[in-house]
Subunit: 140 residues, 2 copies
């Protein structure tokens, strides 16, 4: 088939065991807007043009009932990964501010072509990266 | 701390057991540009402003060696989820073209506020959604 025209990644998913902890981290600490929360199943956050989906996999693995929208089940175990774009001055500020909030920086380095990434863990153990968007600029 | 200014989701991650199959699906079939492939560990694709990371979790769970960049390990098991933005005409075309390519449409419906989503599985079993971007427009 002719390749479809895709407008970008609209949703990225992570899996968490505690929606309250996820909302405290992604909402309160990182400042993402909570778009919707379905108690016991998921909480979704807006970040730029995309939505970060945080699911409790014990719930998202359950197939929908006959009276529900036929959303296919999914749900992973173990630490996932997501990366947010942040400019250099924000990375510098976060590298000192996050530890003060009890979120240690697990790694902080520059890639061979220059962009900086810092990594923390969310409360569920997912690897959360903040990176300069030039990390993936096509010109590199 | 003051909430950081984040520029969006720069990377979304999925886990796959077969990098060749992932590249055939995301690269050849969906037409995403392969940005980089590290044999046995990962293949990354560009989609709009974001990068889709497909990792073999058996490799990405291995902590980096002392001579490597200190990229924190991660790796999940079980079906994950990602959603790509696609306009209505593309969704309509894909809903008939994907099954011809051996990729059945698992679900195809409109959300209560109107936007359409279609869902398929990638070769690793991840739930891959294509949705109209207005699904998440703030005005809804």
């Amino acid at each position: 088939m002719r390749a479809p025209t895709l407008g970008g990644v609209l949703e990225a998913a992570i899996y968490v065991d505690d929606l309250d902890a996820a909302e405290a981290f992604y909402g309160d600490l990182l400042g993402l807007e909570t778009v919707i929360r379905q108690e016991g199943r998921h909480v979704f956050f807006r970040c730029g043009q995309a939505i970060l989906l945080a699911f409790d996999p014990a719930a998202s693995r359950v197939p929908p009932g006959p009276d529900q929208l036929p959303v296919p089940p999914h749900g992973a175990s173990g630490p996932g990964h997501v990366c947010f774009a942040a400019e250099a001055d924000e990375l510098e500020r976060m590298s000192t501010a996050l530890p003060v909030e009890g979120v240690p920086v697990e790694a902080d380095f520059r890639w061979p072509h220059g962009p900086r990434s810092i990594y923390v863990r969310d409360p569920a153990g997912n690897s959360v990266e903040f990176a300069e968007p030039k990390l993936w600029e096509p010109s590199r």
